[in-house]
């Protein structure tokens, strides 16, 4: 009976969701429209329209009749073609219309799709052209025309001018036209999906609330519940909020990746315009790194650091809540541009001077503003975790008895916190350049584009390690526990991480091997970058050795950890190709790079996150996850992941460039990517869809676990650190601050006694008279 009831409830919920889904496509929030029309005719003749050229369209009535064919005459006056002596290479045009169909009359005009026309090579010698347009049955038609006026020299030269015009013609029943659903614009798709995800998230929250206590499903008990979540300073609640935000944006970033992949599935695709494509890869990178990976890591850190070191909470709980709440508002600012169709289109690196140029989208300003808030958030997080780990370890836990995950978070935060101010200052400079008009990156006034690159990569490279180190920590914990051994070479693991942390600051120049930076600096960073392989290698070999003579229990998290070892090793090996400078001049900014960093970001960080979810979810929720669904998730996810990124290596080497709206296959006229190789792009796209949807298995698994999972014991896997000591889920506060747990050490030494250096340092920190004063 109970079951049937819950079945009906689920059915009702699904119906509501379905209704919400069907409503969502109508949510058209594009007030300013999108400049997505093509300018194919004009791109080679200067960046800015010139008012000296006057395009015109003749042959259009004031109101068109339904489904009638009109012959339009396109022409222009002005510009250098009038003064040209040669009777050839005089001009060109591009005409786009939003409804009706265009057809060519002569050989001088070519048609793309049915709504865009341009001149052919033959038509290049004319200044006016004719084209047929068949009007639609109703509505109105907007024509956008761009014409080039060229000087007859046969090439693109600065003298050449172009200009644009647009006109709208009303149809027969313009006033009473039925409201039509617009064709699927990718921006609308994205916005719709974001809204749908929001609705889904809200529904899941509501459903969880309902399932936790069906009787209390009313406003009186809901409002304190939601207020608790909005105001909580408890590290576990804030951690959960981080997880929710992180997974939400992982989905949003994934949708953008899919839209990018649809565009790239076949050559010459026009699913996205250049504008949209550029915005999407920018937003994809920004979202994935700053709004997905970092919050997910912070979710783990929030949940686990106090538990692992035996502290009752973080050092500064309210600052911790502040770190979190800065993020959703930062995300709002970053996404503001998406909703107005002018999202930042500068790449996640935001290279100067493009980032301050007027050709960059207006959303770039708020993109920078949002990231300034993220910098503030990361700084606060850094202070909090460093203070917590430095100062709040339980008795008996010296530095060298900290769990490796705690170590990884410590080093990651130290790096982040020392590097991110540089980028923050860079962002403030960019924000001020774009708003009040300072001139930090205005080249005409002496601004230096490379300064931005330096400030960015001084942060950007440590950031790369900031997101991978916590994954190292997770894998160290999981592999050791699964193999039922203590991790091999604990101390060398710590030194390796510290080594990575130090080297991180002196290698960033390898992102600028082709930037025109001084050759000496490039050479030095080539040497240091090579060095990164050593500590990373130590870690991988230590993990492998950990399994030796162990007793590996195969759980979902074990599988993800082994999968991580495979993908991360591959990513590490491909990484070794870049510091080799003579090779990097070819590989830089190609799909080889894309393949490499996805192997370490997704195959490293995201796999690490998945691994951690399966490992610690029982601790967090108090319920065991479904192992069968976990296995399914691993198999589909791991295989499709490799399906996406493995072929990219080869494509990159063959000539597929990163951040390109399209790619070129070898034709009779020129060689680029061989056609048979290029067809892997379609395979990649299909794999991307598979990978995207495979992750919903985990989401379903998590929901299922929370609602109906088996109760978890305190230590389901046999780990040793403090988090396994408290019940699942842990109480609040996790440990009694006046009576913290004490760590014992199975090794025969007392490591908690500070060294002589430590004693000297402590005596510095606490002057004697001070102590007396306080003790009064």
């Amino acid at each position: 009976m109970m079951q049937q009831k819950s079945f009906i409830r689920t059915l009702v919920l699904l119906t509501v969701l379905g209704l919400a889904l069907s409503m969502a496509p109508k949510a058209d929030s594009l007030p300013t429209g999108i400049n997505g029309f093509s300018e194919k005719g004009c791109t080679c003749h200067g960046a800015v329209p010139d008012p000296g050229v006057t395009p015109s369209i003749e042959g259009l009535p004031a109101n068109f009749n339904a489904s009638t064919t009109y012959t339009l005459t396109i022409s222009f006056t002005g510009g250098p073609s009038g003064t040209s002596a040669a009777p050839e290479n005089l001009g060109g045009f591009n005409l786009a219309v939003d409804s009706g169909t265009l057809a060519n009359i002569g050989e001088d005009v070519q048609i793309w799709g049915s709504n865009e026309a341009g001149h052919t090579e033959l038509g290049n010698d004319q200044t006016s052209w004719n084209v047929d347009w068949t009007s639609p049955a109703s509505g109105s038609a907007t024509f956008t025309l761009a014409t080039n006026s060229v000087n007859g020299d046969g090439g693109a030269s600065p003298d050449d001018k172009w200009n644009m015009m647009s006109m709208t013609v009303q149809g027969p029943s313009a006033g009473a036209a039925a409201e039509e659903l617009q064709s699927a614009d990718p921006f609308v798709v994205l916005i719709t999906l974001i809204i749908v995800s929001g609705i889904l998230l809200a529904s899941v929250i509501l459903y969880t609330f309902y399932r936790v206590s069906p009787d209390g499903f009313n406003w009186d008990s809901f409002s304190p519940w939601i207020v608790e979540w909005l105001t909580s300073t408890d590290h576990k609640k804030v951690g959960t909020l981080y997880f929710i935000a992180g997974f939400f944006f992982l989905g949003v970033g994934g949708v953008m990746a899919l839209l990018i992949r649809i565009q790239l599935a076949v050559p010459g695709n026009d699913f996205l315009t250049q504008d949209q494509y550029n915005s999407f890869f920018t937003m994809h990178g920004t979202t994935m790194i700053f709004l997905a990976a970092m919050p997910l890591i912070n979710g783990f850190a929030n949940w686990l650091i106090p538990l692992q070191i035996g502290a009752h909470d973080l050092a500064l709980p309210r600052i911790n809540a502040m770190s979190f709440w800065l993020q959703p508002f930062a995300a709002l600012l970053i996404f503001t541009g998406v909703f107005s169709g002018q999202a930042a289109d500068v790449g996640w690196t935001g290279y100067a001077p493009y980032i301050v140029s007027e050709t960059a989208h207006t959303g770039t300003t708020l993109w920078a503003a949002g990231q300034i808030m993220l910098v503030a958030s990361s700084t606060l997080t850094g202070i909090n975790f460093l203070a917590t780990i430095c100062g709040m370890r339980a008795p008996g836990m010296g530095w060298m008895q900290m769990p490796l995950f705690t170590w990884s978070i410590f080093i990651a935060n130290l790096m982040l916190f020392l590097s991110i101010p540089a980028w923050g200052v860079g962002l403030i400079q960019v924000y001020l350049d774009r708003t009040i008009g300072t001139a930090f990156y205005h080249v005409a006034s002496g601004g230096d584009p490379l300064l931005w690159s330096h400030l960015f990569w001084y942060f950007g490279h440590p950031e790369v390690y900031v997101v991978i180190l916590p994954a190292f920590g997770v894998i160290s914990e999981v592999l050791a526990t699964s193999a039922r051994r203590s991790v091999f070479g604990y101390r060398s693991m710590v030194y390796a991480m510290a080594g990575i942390g130090i080297v991180a600051f002196i290698v960033y120049g390898h992102h600028m091997f082709t930037s025109g930076m001084s050759p000496t600096l490039r050479f030095v960073t080539m040497l240091t970058t090579m060095l990164v392989a050593v500590p990373t290698g130590i870690k991988i070999f230590n993990w492998l050795k950990t399994m030796h003579r162990g007793s590996l229990v195969y759980r979902t998290h074990t599988l993800w950890a082994l999968g991580f070892l495979v993908t991360f090793t591959l990513g590490g090996i491909s990484g070794m190709f870049f510091p080799s400078l003579a090779m990097d001049t070819h590989l830089h900014e190609t799909y080889f790079v894309v393949a490499h960093f996805h192997y370490v970001f997704v195959g490293g960080t995201v796999f690490g996150v998945f691994c951690g979810i399966y490992y610690w979810f029982p601790k967090m929720s108090g319920r065991m996850m479904d192992e069968k669904l976990g296995l399914l998730h691993f198999l589909t996810g791991f295989i499709s992941f490799n399906g996406i990124f493995w072929p990219m290596h080869k494509l990159g080497v063959l000539g597929m460039a990163r951040r390109h709206h399209t790619w070129f296959i070898t034709t009779d006229d020129f060689a680029n990517i061989p056609a048979e190789m290029a067809s892997w792009n379609l395979f990649i796209t299909v794999s991307a869809f598979l990978f995207f949807f495979s992750n919903f298995i985990m989401v379903a698994n998590m929901i299922k676990t929370v609602v109906a999972g088996e109760k978890a014991p305190a230590d389901p896997w046999g780990g040793w650190s403090f988090e396994w000591m408290c019940s699942s889920p842990p109480p609040t506060p996790s440990f009694d601050p006046h009576n913290p747990p004490v760590l014992r050490d199975a090794n025969e030494h007392i490591a908690s006694e500070p060294t002589r250096f430590g004693q000297w340092f402590e005596s510095l920190m606490m002057p004697e008279d001070d102590e007396k004063e306080v003790s009064h």
């Binding site: 300073t233 600012l333 949002g370 709040m392 009040i436 002496g446 601004g447 230096d448 500070p754």
Partner: protein, 384 residues
């Protein structure tokens, strides 16, 4: 896991709007983070709508900027309201080496200052890169490699303008002393607050029962003095940037005969100054007596190969580094002032004593840092 530390165990349902009962441990729920984040976002959003590319695009969005600031203030007030009752009862000490027995807040403050150091390091890096990388305006002027009416890109250090009349230096110099004295007053406040009841009573001949109120008021006076000096600092800075000030009558001679000291703004030292002109770059100023005879310009003028006139310069980068670096420092002073306002208020309400005097110490760490940064900013931007 039950004990006397969990506020939930006591039916202690504090409101997330504060005030907080600190004897029950770590801060409880608070709306402040949510409100302040929203305020920051609104501020940045509004600001980006008011100014676009150096132009005022939409003055109406100024309301968004103001609203954002108001919301941040509300959030701050909520935060403070929860802290107002803090009397040092809950002051967790670090347990792990090497910070054992040191207040967690102190550790955090030092860590925070580390990141602040990186902020100013980055700003100074920008300054040094441009200062050394872009030719100095004076060098360009003397090289003669310019023609009248066409802007040349060069770096004009604010110090050059400031040095052109020693009165220009006055605000900066007074400010330096104001900040150094304010560091001292903070220390006095701390020393007073830390004084034990008995010692205080003996020293100031105050009845034991009045010590707390008397002492706290005295602390408030010192904190108020600090606040005053900080206000003086920012006021003088605004005068120097935007307002200018009249020269006292008899001293006009020392100011090249001008009765007013122009602000940097009216001197044309602006972030959008791409056609900057200054009398120092005018060959006819002082009849050219200021042009050193060993300069290329002098030889050119003598040989008649240089027409002379006024050099026009694009000094946007130099002005940007000056205003943004000193401005960032100013924002730090402003943040300190907000903190000081709260602390003074708390002092007037009798809130400071030996048990919580460390809060003043931790504020002092920040304040000394801001002071230290000024000691670096001053020579780099005002003297050199």
């Amino acid at each position: 896991m039950s004990g006397d530390y969990g506020h939930d165990d006591h039916g202690h349902h504090a409101s997330p709007w504060g005030p907080h009962d600190w004897s029950h441990g770590a801060p409880h729920n608070s709306f402040a983070p949510l409100i302040m984040s929203a305020g920051f976002a609104l501020f940045l959003y509004g600001f980006a709508n008011v100014f676009v590319g150096g132009e005022v695009a939409d003055l109406g969005a100024l309301s968004g900027v103001m609203l954002g600031l108001i919301i941040v203030t509300i959030g701050l007030l909520v935060w403070w309201r929860q802290d107002m009752t803090f009397d040092g009862v809950y002051e967790p000490k670090a347990t792990g080496a090497p910070f054992r027995n040191i207040d967690i807040r102190k550790v955090s403050m030092w860590i925070f200052l580390m990141s602040e150091m990186m902020v100013f390091t980055s700003l100074f890096s920008t300054y040094i890169r441009y200062r050394l990388g872009i030719p100095n305006c004076n060098d360009v002027f003397l090289s003669g490699e310019w023609i009248e009416g066409t802007s040349v890109v060069c770096f004009e250090p604010a110090a050059h303008l400031i040095a052109s009349s020693w009165f220009h230096l006055a605000p900066g110099a007074v400010n330096t002393f104001a900040l150094i004295i304010s560091s001292f007053t903070v220390v006095l406040a701390l020393k007073t607050a830390k004084m034990s009841d008995k010692k205080y009573s003996d020293k100031y001949e105050v009845e034991m029962e009045n010590v707390q109120a008397h002492r706290s008021r005295k602390v408030a006076v010192f904190l108020g003095a600090t606040l005053f000096l900080a206000t003086l600092f920012l006021t003088l800075k605004m005068i120097e940037w935007f307002v200018g000030f009249p020269t006292p009558g008899p001293l006009t001679n020392l100011n090249h005969g001008h009765s007013e000291i122009a602000s940097l703004y009216t001197e044309g030292y602006r972030i959008n100054a791409d056609t900057y002109q200054h009398y120092a770059y005018d060959t006819s100023y002082h009849d050219g007596k200021d042009i050193p005879p060993d300069s290329a310009l002098y030889s050119m003028m003598q040989a008649g190969t240089h027409p002379g006139g006024v050099m026009m310069a694009d000094i946007r980068v130099g002005a940007s580094t000056f205003f943004v670096t000193t401005g960032t420092h100013g924002v730090h002073v402003l943040a300190g002032m907000i903190g000081l306002a709260y602390m003074t208020l708390k002092g007037l309400r009798g809130g400071w004593g030996p048990s919580n005097a460390v809060t003043i110490e931790y504020f002092g760490l920040y304040w000394h840092f801001v002071d230290l940064v000024w000691v670096l900013v001053f020579p780099f931007f005002y003297l050199f």
